[in-house]
Protein backbone atom coordinates (compact mmCIF):
# COMPACT_ATOMS: atom_id res chain seq x y z
CA UNK A 1 0.00 0.00 0.00
CA UNK A 2 1.42 3.41 -0.93
CA UNK A 3 2.20 5.73 1.95
CA UNK A 4 -0.42 8.21 0.75
CA UNK A 5 -3.10 5.50 1.17
CA UNK A 6 -2.33 4.92 4.84
CA UNK A 7 -4.35 6.65 7.53
CA UNK A 8 -2.40 9.68 8.79
CA UNK A 9 -1.81 9.95 12.53
CA UNK A 10 -1.21 13.38 13.99
CA UNK A 11 0.43 13.64 17.39
CA UNK A 12 -0.46 16.68 19.50
CA UNK A 13 2.04 17.15 22.27
CA UNK A 14 3.12 19.92 24.62
CA UNK A 15 3.96 20.47 28.23
CA UNK A 16 1.43 20.35 31.06
CA UNK A 17 -1.20 23.06 30.71
CA UNK A 18 0.09 24.28 27.36
CA UNK A 19 -3.29 24.09 25.65
CA UNK A 20 -3.17 20.78 23.76
CA UNK A 21 -6.81 19.93 24.37
CA UNK A 22 -8.00 23.44 23.59
CA UNK A 23 -6.10 23.36 20.31
CA UNK A 24 -7.41 19.91 19.44
CA UNK A 25 -10.98 20.94 20.22
CA UNK A 26 -10.57 23.96 17.95
CA UNK A 27 -9.16 21.83 15.14
CA UNK A 28 -11.84 19.16 15.45
CA UNK A 29 -14.52 21.77 14.86
CA UNK A 30 -13.30 22.00 11.25
CA UNK A 31 -15.36 20.12 8.67
CA UNK A 32 -12.12 18.72 7.17
CA UNK A 33 -11.53 16.76 10.38
CA UNK A 34 -15.08 15.47 10.75
CA UNK A 35 -13.85 11.90 10.20
CA UNK A 36 -11.03 12.06 12.71
CA UNK A 37 -10.69 9.60 15.58
CA UNK A 38 -9.05 10.88 18.75
CA UNK A 39 -6.97 9.11 21.39
CA UNK A 40 -6.04 10.99 24.54
CA UNK A 41 -3.56 10.01 27.22
CA UNK A 42 -5.15 12.01 29.98
CA UNK A 43 -8.57 13.51 30.39
CA UNK A 44 -7.96 17.12 31.32
CA UNK A 45 -10.19 19.92 32.48
CA UNK A 46 -11.13 20.93 28.95
CA UNK A 47 -13.66 18.46 27.66
CA UNK A 48 -13.45 16.89 24.24
CA UNK A 49 -16.79 15.67 23.00
CA UNK A 50 -15.65 14.15 19.76
CA UNK A 51 -17.48 11.18 18.37
CA UNK A 52 -14.55 8.79 18.41
CA UNK A 53 -12.78 9.90 21.54
CA UNK A 54 -10.90 7.15 23.35
CA UNK A 55 -8.69 7.17 26.43
CA UNK A 56 -5.33 5.39 26.60
CA UNK A 57 -3.62 4.20 29.77
CA UNK A 58 0.08 4.80 29.52
CA UNK A 59 1.91 1.50 29.48
CA UNK A 60 5.30 1.49 27.92
CA UNK A 61 7.36 -1.58 27.33
CA UNK A 62 11.04 -0.84 27.12
CA UNK A 63 12.82 -3.64 25.35
CA UNK A 64 15.90 -4.99 27.11
CA UNK A 65 18.23 -3.84 24.38
CA UNK A 66 16.22 -0.82 23.43
CA UNK A 67 16.57 2.81 24.26
CA UNK A 68 13.74 5.03 25.42
CA UNK A 69 12.75 6.16 21.94
CA UNK A 70 12.54 2.54 20.80
CA UNK A 71 10.03 1.67 23.48
CA UNK A 72 6.83 0.04 22.35
CA UNK A 73 3.70 1.64 23.71
CA UNK A 74 1.58 -1.49 24.11
CA UNK A 75 -1.38 0.52 25.35
CA UNK A 76 -1.29 2.69 22.27
CA UNK A 77 -0.83 -0.24 19.95
CA UNK A 78 -3.84 -2.02 21.49
CA UNK A 79 -6.00 1.11 21.37
CA UNK A 80 -5.19 1.88 17.73
CA UNK A 81 -5.65 -1.74 16.68
CA UNK A 82 -9.00 -1.79 18.47
CA UNK A 83 -10.08 1.39 16.71
CA UNK A 84 -9.01 0.05 13.36
CA UNK A 85 -10.79 -3.27 13.94
CA UNK A 86 -14.04 -1.49 14.77
CA UNK A 87 -13.61 0.74 11.75
CA UNK A 88 -13.23 -2.28 9.49
CA UNK A 89 -16.20 -4.09 11.07
CA UNK A 90 -18.30 -1.00 10.61
CA UNK A 91 -19.13 -0.60 14.30
CA UNK A 92 -17.67 2.92 14.25
CA UNK A 93 -17.57 5.42 11.39
CA UNK A 94 -14.82 4.98 8.81
CA UNK A 95 -12.40 7.58 10.17
CA UNK A 96 -9.77 8.85 7.75
CA UNK A 97 -7.39 10.44 10.27
CA UNK A 98 -6.30 9.76 13.84
CA UNK A 99 -5.20 12.40 16.33
CA UNK A 100 -3.30 11.40 19.47
CA UNK A 101 -2.99 13.82 22.37
CA UNK A 102 -0.08 12.92 24.61
CA UNK A 103 0.43 13.57 28.28
CA UNK A 104 2.28 16.75 29.15
CA UNK A 105 5.41 14.89 30.12
CA UNK A 106 5.31 12.43 27.25
CA UNK A 107 8.20 11.79 24.96
CA UNK A 108 6.65 11.66 21.46
CA UNK A 109 9.37 9.32 20.14
CA UNK A 110 7.90 6.04 21.52
CA UNK A 111 4.53 6.96 19.99
CA UNK A 112 6.17 7.46 16.61
CA UNK A 113 8.13 4.24 17.08
CA UNK A 114 5.01 2.26 17.93
CA UNK A 115 3.20 3.46 14.82
CA UNK A 116 6.18 2.71 12.59
CA UNK A 117 7.29 -0.60 14.09
CA UNK A 118 4.07 -2.35 15.11
CA UNK A 119 3.65 -5.18 12.58
CA UNK A 120 -0.06 -4.47 12.15
CA UNK A 121 -0.26 -0.72 12.52
CA UNK A 122 2.55 0.03 10.07
CA UNK A 123 0.45 -1.40 7.26
CA UNK A 124 -2.57 0.77 8.00
CA UNK A 125 -1.25 3.99 9.52
CA UNK A 126 1.52 6.48 8.90
CA UNK A 127 2.91 9.22 11.10
CA UNK A 128 1.69 12.65 10.07
CA UNK A 129 2.68 16.00 11.48
CA UNK A 130 3.68 16.25 15.11
CA UNK A 131 2.17 19.45 16.54
CA UNK A 132 3.65 20.88 19.73
CA UNK A 133 1.96 23.52 21.87
CA UNK A 134 4.11 25.90 23.91
CA UNK A 135 2.48 28.05 26.54
CA UNK A 136 3.65 31.68 26.37
CA UNK A 137 3.12 32.18 30.09
CA UNK A 138 5.21 29.24 31.27
CA UNK A 139 6.87 27.95 28.10
CA UNK A 140 10.18 29.73 28.62
CA UNK A 141 10.42 28.22 32.12
CA UNK A 142 9.55 24.79 30.80
CA UNK A 143 12.23 25.04 28.11
CA UNK A 144 14.70 26.11 30.75
CA UNK A 145 13.90 23.50 33.36
CA UNK A 146 12.45 20.48 31.59
CA UNK A 147 14.30 18.52 28.89
CA UNK A 148 10.97 16.92 27.96
CA UNK A 149 9.75 20.31 26.79
CA UNK A 150 12.86 20.91 24.66
CA UNK A 151 12.43 17.51 23.05
CA UNK A 152 8.75 18.11 22.32
CA UNK A 153 9.70 21.28 20.44
CA UNK A 154 12.63 19.59 18.68
CA UNK A 155 10.51 16.78 17.19
CA UNK A 156 7.68 19.11 16.13
CA UNK A 157 6.65 19.62 12.54
CA UNK A 158 4.47 22.52 13.66
CA UNK A 159 4.78 24.63 16.82
CA UNK A 160 1.80 26.51 18.22
CA UNK A 161 2.43 29.24 20.80
CA UNK A 162 -0.59 29.50 23.07
CA UNK A 163 -1.70 32.18 25.55
CA UNK A 164 0.35 34.91 23.83
CA UNK A 165 -2.60 37.22 24.48
CA UNK A 166 -1.79 36.93 28.18
CA UNK A 167 1.80 38.12 27.79
CA UNK A 168 3.52 41.10 26.21
CA UNK A 169 4.67 41.11 22.60
CA UNK A 170 8.30 41.07 23.64
CA UNK A 171 7.76 37.96 25.73
CA UNK A 172 6.03 36.16 22.87
CA UNK A 173 8.84 37.05 20.46
CA UNK A 174 11.48 35.82 22.91
CA UNK A 175 9.66 32.51 23.22
CA UNK A 176 9.38 32.26 19.45
CA UNK A 177 13.15 32.81 19.19
CA UNK A 178 13.78 30.15 21.83
CA UNK A 179 11.65 27.64 19.89
CA UNK A 180 13.38 28.64 16.66
CA UNK A 181 16.79 27.89 18.18
CA UNK A 182 15.71 24.38 19.09
CA UNK A 183 13.85 23.74 15.85
CA UNK A 184 14.59 26.20 13.05
CA UNK A 185 12.54 24.44 10.37
CA UNK A 186 9.11 23.98 11.93
CA UNK A 187 6.64 26.79 11.21
CA UNK A 188 5.59 28.57 14.40
CA UNK A 189 2.01 29.79 14.81
CA UNK A 190 0.36 31.86 17.50
CA UNK A 191 -3.01 30.46 18.48
CA UNK A 192 -4.31 33.91 19.45
CA UNK A 193 -3.62 35.65 16.14
CA UNK A 194 -2.75 33.20 13.35
CA UNK A 195 -5.18 31.10 11.36
CA UNK A 196 -4.57 27.60 12.69
CA UNK A 197 -6.75 25.06 11.02
CA UNK A 198 -6.14 21.56 9.69
CA UNK A 199 -4.52 23.03 6.59
CA UNK A 200 -1.79 24.73 8.61
CA UNK A 201 -1.22 22.01 11.20
CA UNK A 202 -2.31 18.56 10.02
CA UNK A 203 -2.55 18.44 6.25
CA UNK A 204 0.44 18.21 3.90
CA UNK A 205 2.72 15.86 5.83
CA UNK A 206 5.76 14.29 4.14
CA UNK A 207 3.82 11.31 2.74
CA UNK A 208 1.62 13.73 0.81
CA UNK A 209 3.62 14.45 -2.38
CA UNK A 210 2.79 18.15 -2.44
CA UNK A 211 3.33 18.42 1.29
CA UNK A 212 6.68 16.71 1.12
CA UNK A 213 7.97 19.18 -1.40
CA UNK A 214 6.79 22.19 0.56
CA UNK A 215 8.17 20.84 3.81
CA UNK A 216 11.46 19.76 2.28
CA UNK A 217 12.15 23.18 0.80
CA UNK A 218 11.46 24.76 4.16
CA UNK A 219 14.15 22.58 5.70
CA UNK A 220 16.52 23.58 2.91
CA UNK A 221 16.23 27.12 4.19
CA UNK A 222 18.03 26.26 7.42
CA UNK A 223 21.39 27.99 7.46
CA UNK A 224 24.37 25.68 6.91
CA UNK A 225 26.14 26.63 10.06
CA UNK A 226 23.42 27.67 12.48
CA UNK A 227 25.52 27.87 15.62
CA UNK A 228 24.54 26.79 19.09
CA UNK A 229 22.46 29.48 20.78
CA UNK A 230 24.22 32.28 22.58
CA UNK A 231 24.79 31.39 26.16
CA UNK A 232 23.89 34.59 27.87
CA UNK A 233 24.46 33.94 31.54
CA UNK A 234 21.28 33.15 33.39
CA UNK A 235 19.12 33.26 30.28
CA UNK A 236 19.61 29.95 28.59
CA UNK A 237 19.36 26.65 30.38
CA UNK A 238 21.72 23.73 29.83
CA UNK A 239 18.84 21.85 28.12
CA UNK A 240 18.23 24.69 25.70
CA UNK A 241 21.89 25.50 25.16
CA UNK A 242 22.87 21.92 24.41
CA UNK A 243 20.20 21.39 21.75
CA UNK A 244 20.86 23.14 18.46
CA UNK A 245 20.35 22.72 14.74
CA UNK A 246 22.66 22.85 11.77
CA UNK A 247 22.82 21.60 8.23
CA UNK A 248 25.57 19.71 6.46
CA UNK A 249 26.21 19.49 2.75
CA UNK A 250 27.97 16.93 0.61
CA UNK A 251 30.06 17.89 -2.39
CA UNK A 252 28.87 15.11 -4.69
CA UNK A 253 25.87 12.87 -5.26
CA UNK A 254 25.29 10.40 -2.46
CA UNK A 255 25.74 6.70 -2.90
CA UNK A 256 22.57 5.37 -1.27
CA UNK A 257 24.32 2.33 0.16
CA UNK A 258 27.17 4.36 1.64
CA UNK A 259 24.63 6.76 3.09
CA UNK A 260 22.66 3.88 4.60
CA UNK A 261 25.77 2.41 6.19
CA UNK A 262 26.74 5.80 7.58
CA UNK A 263 23.35 6.89 8.92
CA UNK A 264 22.50 3.54 10.52
CA UNK A 265 25.92 3.56 12.20
CA UNK A 266 25.49 7.16 13.31
CA UNK A 267 22.03 6.58 14.74
CA UNK A 268 23.19 3.44 16.51
CA UNK A 269 26.01 5.35 18.17
CA UNK A 270 24.36 8.74 18.71
CA UNK A 271 20.62 8.32 18.18
CA UNK A 272 19.87 9.49 21.70
CA UNK A 273 21.48 12.83 20.85
CA UNK A 274 20.03 13.23 17.35
CA UNK A 275 16.58 14.57 18.04
CA UNK A 276 15.77 15.08 14.39
CA UNK A 277 17.44 14.54 11.06
CA UNK A 278 15.97 15.54 7.76
CA UNK A 279 17.65 15.46 4.42
CA UNK A 280 17.03 16.30 0.82
CA UNK A 281 19.38 14.00 -1.00
CA UNK A 282 20.82 13.84 -4.48
CA UNK A 283 21.28 10.10 -4.83
CA UNK A 284 23.46 8.52 -7.50
CA UNK A 285 21.25 7.10 -10.24
CA UNK A 286 18.08 8.81 -9.00
CA UNK A 287 17.17 11.92 -10.99
CA UNK A 288 14.78 13.42 -8.43
CA UNK A 289 15.35 14.39 -4.78
CA UNK A 290 14.93 11.82 -2.04
CA UNK A 291 13.72 13.01 1.36
CA UNK A 292 14.76 11.19 4.52
CA UNK A 293 13.34 12.02 7.90
CA UNK A 294 14.26 10.58 11.26
CA UNK A 295 13.49 11.08 14.93
CA UNK A 296 16.25 9.73 17.16
CA UNK A 297 16.76 6.07 16.18
CA UNK A 298 13.71 6.02 13.92
CA UNK A 299 13.85 6.74 10.21
CA UNK A 300 10.68 7.15 8.19
CA UNK A 301 10.45 5.45 4.80
CA UNK A 302 12.18 7.77 2.30
CA UNK A 303 10.01 9.83 -0.03
CA UNK A 304 10.77 10.63 -3.66
CA UNK A 305 9.90 14.14 -4.80
CA UNK A 306 8.89 15.06 -8.33
CA UNK A 307 11.86 17.24 -9.13
CA UNK A 308 14.37 19.83 -8.00
CA UNK A 309 13.13 23.41 -7.63
CA UNK A 310 16.38 24.98 -8.91
CA UNK A 311 19.58 24.02 -10.65
CA UNK A 312 21.17 23.45 -7.25
CA UNK A 313 21.04 19.70 -6.72
CA UNK A 314 23.22 19.54 -3.67
CA UNK A 315 22.53 17.15 -0.85
CA UNK A 316 21.66 18.84 2.41
CA UNK A 317 20.94 17.24 5.76
CA UNK A 318 19.55 19.19 8.70
CA UNK A 319 20.23 17.90 12.19
CA UNK A 320 18.75 18.91 15.52
CA UNK A 321 21.22 17.51 18.00
CA UNK A 322 22.30 17.52 21.57
CA UNK A 323 25.98 18.43 21.72
CA UNK A 324 27.24 16.86 18.50
CA UNK A 325 29.81 18.66 16.32
CA UNK A 326 28.71 19.69 12.83
CA UNK A 327 32.17 19.60 11.29
CA UNK A 328 32.84 16.03 12.37
CA UNK A 329 29.46 14.84 11.09
CA UNK A 330 30.08 16.50 7.73
CA UNK A 331 33.61 15.12 7.42
CA UNK A 332 32.45 11.64 8.39
CA UNK A 333 29.60 11.60 5.85
CA UNK A 334 31.89 12.88 3.10
CA UNK A 335 34.48 10.20 3.89
CA UNK A 336 31.90 7.40 3.89
CA UNK A 337 30.38 8.64 0.65
CA UNK A 338 33.77 8.62 -1.04
CA UNK A 339 34.19 4.97 -0.12
CA UNK A 340 31.71 4.21 -2.86
CA UNK A 341 33.83 5.86 -5.52
CA UNK A 342 37.03 3.99 -4.67
CA UNK A 343 36.95 1.23 -7.23
CA UNK A 344 33.18 1.30 -7.07
CA UNK A 345 30.49 3.41 -8.65
CA UNK A 346 31.25 6.95 -9.64
CA UNK A 347 28.81 9.72 -8.88
Amino acid sequence: MAAADLIPVNIVTGFLGSGKTTLLRRLLASPELANTAVLVNELGEVGLDHLLLRHVDETTVVLPSGCVCCALREDLSAAVRDLYGKRERGTIPKFDRLAIETTGLADPAPIIFTLMADPVLRHHFRVGHVVTTVDAVNGATHLTQHPESVKQVAVADRVVLTKTDLTGREHAEALRAACRRVNPAAPIFEAAVDPIGPEQLFIGDPADPSGARQDAWRWLGVAPGTPPPETAAGQVSPHDRDVYAFSVTVDRALDWTAFGIWLTMLLNAHGDDILRVKGILHVVGVPTPVVVHGVQHLVHPPVHLDGWPTQDRGTRLVFIVRKLPRQVIERSLTAFNRLATVGERVA
Binding site: L63, G260, N268, A269, S332
Partner: protein, 107 residues
Protein backbone atom coordinates in the same frame (compact mmCIF):
# COMPACT_ATOMS: atom_id res chain seq x y z
CA UNK B 1 18.58 0.36 15.21
CA UNK B 2 17.17 -1.54 18.19
CA UNK B 3 16.35 -4.99 19.43
CA UNK B 4 12.83 -4.88 18.07
CA UNK B 5 14.09 -5.15 14.50
CA UNK B 6 15.06 -8.74 15.24
CA UNK B 7 11.76 -9.50 16.93
CA UNK B 8 9.76 -8.30 13.99
CA UNK B 9 11.72 -10.21 11.38
CA UNK B 10 13.08 -9.12 8.07
CA UNK B 11 10.55 -6.65 6.79
CA UNK B 12 11.88 -4.06 4.38
CA UNK B 13 14.21 -1.59 6.01
CA UNK B 14 14.42 2.06 5.00
CA UNK B 15 17.90 1.53 3.58
CA UNK B 16 16.38 -0.84 1.02
CA UNK B 17 13.90 1.69 -0.22
CA UNK B 18 15.27 4.65 -2.11
CA UNK B 19 18.45 3.95 -3.96
CA UNK B 20 19.01 2.49 -7.38
CA UNK B 21 17.58 -0.73 -5.96
CA UNK B 22 14.38 0.86 -4.78
CA UNK B 23 11.51 -1.62 -4.93
CA UNK B 24 9.12 0.87 -6.47
CA UNK B 25 10.99 1.41 -9.72
CA UNK B 26 13.25 -0.06 -12.32
CA UNK B 27 16.83 0.11 -11.10
CA UNK B 28 18.62 2.72 -13.20
CA UNK B 29 21.99 1.82 -14.62
CA UNK B 30 21.17 -1.86 -14.73
CA UNK B 31 21.81 -2.44 -11.03
CA UNK B 32 20.11 -5.57 -9.80
CA UNK B 33 19.18 -6.48 -6.27
CA UNK B 34 22.08 -8.92 -6.15
CA UNK B 35 24.52 -6.30 -7.41
CA UNK B 36 23.21 -3.89 -4.80
CA UNK B 37 23.69 -6.40 -1.99
CA UNK B 38 27.24 -7.11 -3.13
CA UNK B 39 27.91 -3.38 -3.26
CA UNK B 40 26.55 -3.11 0.27
CA UNK B 41 28.79 -5.90 1.50
CA UNK B 42 31.86 -4.37 -0.16
CA UNK B 43 31.27 -0.95 1.36
CA UNK B 44 30.37 -2.29 4.79
CA UNK B 45 33.54 -4.37 4.82
CA UNK B 46 35.64 -1.28 4.21
CA UNK B 47 34.32 0.03 7.52
CA UNK B 48 34.09 -3.25 9.40
CA UNK B 49 37.74 -4.16 8.82
CA UNK B 50 38.57 -1.34 11.21
CA UNK B 51 36.94 -3.53 13.87
CA UNK B 52 38.39 -6.86 12.68
CA UNK B 53 35.04 -8.01 11.27
CA UNK B 54 33.79 -9.09 7.85
CA UNK B 55 30.32 -9.22 6.37
CA UNK B 56 29.02 -11.64 3.73
CA UNK B 57 25.75 -11.95 1.90
CA UNK B 58 23.85 -15.10 2.79
CA UNK B 59 21.90 -16.20 -0.24
CA UNK B 60 20.30 -12.81 -0.72
CA UNK B 61 18.21 -13.27 2.41
CA UNK B 62 20.36 -11.83 5.17
CA UNK B 63 23.98 -11.16 6.07
CA UNK B 64 26.56 -13.03 8.12
CA UNK B 65 28.97 -11.07 10.29
CA UNK B 66 32.18 -12.84 11.25
CA UNK B 67 35.08 -12.06 13.54
CA UNK B 68 38.71 -13.11 13.15
CA UNK B 69 38.26 -15.55 15.98
CA UNK B 70 35.53 -17.41 14.14
CA UNK B 71 32.49 -15.99 15.86
CA UNK B 72 29.58 -15.34 13.55
CA UNK B 73 26.09 -13.87 13.70
CA UNK B 74 23.24 -13.36 11.28
CA UNK B 75 21.92 -9.84 10.73
CA UNK B 76 18.91 -8.87 8.67
CA UNK B 77 19.85 -5.37 7.57
CA UNK B 78 22.25 -2.49 8.14
CA UNK B 79 20.60 -1.09 11.25
CA UNK B 80 20.78 -4.47 12.96
CA UNK B 81 24.44 -4.79 11.98
CA UNK B 82 25.96 -2.22 14.31
CA UNK B 83 24.81 -3.46 17.74
CA UNK B 84 26.01 -6.95 16.76
CA UNK B 85 29.32 -5.56 15.46
CA UNK B 86 29.83 -3.73 18.74
CA UNK B 87 29.20 -6.86 20.79
CA UNK B 88 31.42 -8.97 18.60
CA UNK B 89 34.33 -6.52 18.45
CA UNK B 90 33.80 -5.26 22.01
CA UNK B 91 34.32 -1.78 20.63
CA UNK B 92 32.03 1.12 20.01
CA UNK B 93 31.28 1.52 16.30
CA UNK B 94 31.16 5.29 16.05
CA UNK B 95 31.32 7.02 12.65
CA UNK B 96 32.37 10.23 14.43
CA UNK B 97 35.47 8.54 15.89
CA UNK B 98 38.46 10.48 14.51
CA UNK B 99 40.52 7.31 14.02
CA UNK B 100 37.76 5.66 12.01
CA UNK B 101 37.22 8.74 9.84
CA UNK B 102 40.94 8.94 9.12
CA UNK B 103 41.00 5.24 8.23
CA UNK B 104 37.99 5.61 5.92
CA UNK B 105 39.61 8.63 4.26
CA UNK B 106 42.70 6.54 3.54
CA UNK B 107 40.65 3.88 1.72
Amino acid sequence: MCGLCGVLGSEAHWTDAAGPDRPSGVPPGGSTRRQERLHRVRLANKVLKHYGLTLADWDGACFVLRSRTGRSAIVQHLAALWPVAERMSRRRCDPLDAALIAAVERE
